[in-house]
Amino acid sequence: MYYFGDPAIWLPFVFAGLMGVSILIYVVLDGFDLGVGVLFPFATDAEKDRMIASIGPFWDANETWLVLAVGLLLVAFPAAHGVILTALYLPVAIMLIGLILRGVAFEFRAKAPAPHKRLWNNAFFAGSLMTSLSQGFMLGMYVMGLEWTWINVAFAMLTAVFLTVGYSFIGATWVIHKTSDALQIKAVEWAKGGIWGLILGIGAVSLATPLVSTRIFDKWFSWPEALFLTPLPILSALLVFWLWSMLRAMPFAGDRRSWQPFAAATALWVMAFGGMAYSFYPYVVPEKITIYEAASAPESLFIILIGTSIVLPTILGYTVLSYVIFRGKATELRYD
């Protein structure tokens, strides 16, 4: 067990990395299907069906990344799990009820009698909205250090709105990729409207984080680190510019490049997330508990790692496989 140096150092680091990757995959994957739910009120009934069909085979697996992320927090950093989730008690409860509502609305809206369908459509929208808002709220609270003060709550409310609009943006880019004709054109408009939420959200978090903590401020604005970090904001700005010019010209003839807005949005997400991870490392509870202090015993982590290193690549393989099988434009979902 001592092959790579002290396991009390590298194991928590590896697990923090795994947890980070899970959260990142979650916000991209469930981000787009939550976003599709947030966009529901803007779509006609027939469009709603196609939007649902575009996420139908994926949402279940998408949501399990949240389970994995929280699971890793729970099993690898038990001390932090308690602190974070107790501090976020109410938003977590709202998110859970939101997840329950949208998850079951998926099934019920397809199976319930026609008159009930509107009810379940509303439940799907409400659930998606509750989930997105509460996740954005939690992001804001986390950035501000998990203290319930007025200023922090106000900031968290802002990030709640930004993240929700951000999700609706990535959801719109997904719809652009998975649909055609009138709905695709509509989705381009949604994406143009939503991109601002993403920019403001990333901007707000990027500005707030170094202001809250001098440690983070120093990490970003001291020489020579600043030199290595400058590509991050510059690349992000270029991506936004590219996205914007692309969206203005879409859709292209023959459905060319319909996957590119989603890919660009994902890249943007990855960079924002990378920046945050860099800021907060080595803390798992901001400025209070480091990953090394919160980690489980190395022996237990090692056992989990064995399973993870077999299972995670396999899961990634399966995930890719299912996206390949259900590639192309969304058609009606049939049980045959």
Binding site: A46, D49, R50, I52, A53, G56, D60, A61, E63, T64, L66, V67, L68, G71, L74, V75, P78, G82, V83, I84, L85, T86, L88, Y89, V92, A93, L96, L99, I100, V104, E107, F108, A110, K111, A112, P113, S180, D181, S296, A297, E299, S300, I303, G307, T308, V311, L312, Y318, L321, S322, I325, R327, G328, K329, T331, E332, L333, R334, Y335, D336
Partner: protein
């Protein structure tokens, strides 16, 4: 610690886990039943097996979604309400939960899409394989959770250092003494629940005129499965009880409503246990039978609840009435299942007319028993979980030590919200099952989930 917070947190966890377990109880076995339907179809090419498959795969999808979303709630509640649990035994519970999530959850969720919507998109064998992997994943999920739960009842293979548990022997942890019994008991409970659900819903479809071959095979499969499994379950349940007597005698004493240690202890059929007076009121009992069941000796010695009162008067056994009554509900439901399934199996076999041989009252009886599995399963879990109190991990930590210091009104408000959502969803779930049954009985197609009207159908076809 606020006593109300403890009580409310316990009720909230009980509500969540009770709601959650309803759906895995269905999916654990239904996955295998679907695989059975699929394999019969592959073997015989007979369309009726696919008809049964297509109906029940929808119930599976619905149950699965309910299970996933209510399961997510669980993993968060460990942190929001019970941080002491993972802080104390996280080194053991962590890996077990991790394996549950990894090996099982993903396998199910990823292949579910193919299983549900991939029949025409992938080769037949891939679809069969996906069905198998979903069933297998669900069973593995159950395995790891039962391992953890059983370890909380019969912990071993660890040492305590500064109040934190460290694993010393993983095979001892996984194969802890109560795990094999609890696992088999739960898997059988799941198969019985599904058998009675399929039998009940099929009987309902039959009664309202949906007399297709698919309904016929589903009803027959379910009745025979139930009739075969219920005696096995009673046998396994008895073994599980003996195992509990060895490791958690206080729980068995509460189940039996037996206060005093003695020989030739009677089996209490009915009583109102009185916690204050520490005795039973209105007791109806069969002499010496409890001794015989628990020790296989009419005069065997059985431990009573009074052994579990500390010198300072601290009570280290569970509250008696809930355990006593849950146990009776479970056993009573089990016996009723035996009666109903054997009668139905007998009627199908005797008249040689198959399902046509079932008289109307029998069919109504089966409809009435549709959710009997849920009742028995919940009652069984209440027996074993309340029976472990006041311990959270038997002999290691109490429930009181694990609870989070969240203000009671906050817990109360989330509890009310959960209860409202759960009640509505449960009603919707049961309604939709019978709605789908009525719809198929009318001969309508329920194959399409989100069929857009023709005008809106996409022009671009999927790349194939």
């Amino acid at each position: 610690m606020d006593i109300e917070t403890l009580l409310l947190s316990r009720i909230q966890f009980a509500a969540n886990i009770s709601f959650h377990i309803l759906f895995p109880t269905i999916t654990i076995a239904l996955g295998w039943v679907l695989l059975f339907f699929k394999l019969r179809y592959n073997r015989t090419g007979d369309e009726r097996w696919m008809e049964a498959y297509r109906f029940w795969v929808k119930i599976f999808a619905l149950s699965f979604a309910m299970g996933v979303v209510s399961g997510i709630t669980m993993s968060f509640q460990f942190g929001t309400n019970w941080p002491g649990f993972m802080e104390t035994v996280g080194n053991i519970a962590g890996p077990l939960l991790a394996y549950e999530i990894m090996t099982a959850f993903f396998l199910e969720a990823v292949f579910l899409g193919i299983m549900l919507f991939g029949f025409s998109r992938v080769p037949n064998w891939v679809h069969t394989l996906a069905t198998f992997l979903v069933a297998f994943g669900t069973l593995m999920s159950a395995f790891w959770i039962i391992v953890l739960n059983s370890w909380m009842h019969t912990p071993q293979g660890f040492e305590m250092i500064d109040g934190v548990a460290y694993a010393t022997d993983w095979s001892a942890i996984i194969f802890n003494p109560s795990m094999p019994y609890r696992f088999v008991h739960m898997v059988l409970a799941s198969f019985l629940t599904v058998s009675f659900l399929i039998a009940g819903v099929s009987a309902y479809r039959w009664l309202i005129g949906g007399r297709t071959d698919g309904v016929r095979v589903a009803l027959k499969t379910a009745v025979f499965a139930a009739a075969l499994l219920i005696p096995v379950q009673i046998f396994v349940g008895d073994l599980h009880g003996l195992n509990t007597k060895e490791f958690q005698p206080a729980k068995v004493a509460a189940m039996e409503g037996n206060w005093e240690t003695g020989t030739g202890v009677p089996l209490v059929l009915f009583a109102l246990p009185d916690e204050q007076a520490r005795e039973n009121r209105f007791e109806i009992a069969i002499p010496k039978l409890a001794s015989f069941i628990l020790t296989r000796d009419w005069n065997g010695k059985v431990t009573g609840l009074n052994e579990f009162v500390g010198e300072d008067g601290e009570i280290l056994h569970p509250r008696v009435a809930p355990v006593f009554w849950s146990f009776r509900v479970m056993v009573g439901t089990g016996l009723l299942m035996l009666l109903v399934s054997w009668t139905a199996a007998f009627l199908i076999l005797r008249r040689k007319r198959g399902v046509e041989g079932l008289p109307k009252p029998m069919l109504y009886g089966l409809v009435g028993m549709s959710f009997s599995g849920w009742l028995a399963t919940l009652a069984g879990w209440y027996t074993t979980e309340i029976g472990r109190q006041p311990w959270l991990v038997q002999g290691v930590m109490t429930t009181k030590e694990a609870v989070a210091d969240v203000p009671a009104p906050m817990v109360l408000s989330t509890l009310i919200a959960y209860l409202l959502v759960y009640a509505a969803l449960l009603a919707a779930y049961i309604f939709v099952i019978f709605y789908l049954a009525r719809k198929t009985a009318r001969g309508e197609d329920i194959g399409t989930r989100n069929a857009p009207p023709p005008a809106a159908a996409p022009k671009t076809l999927p790349a194939e």
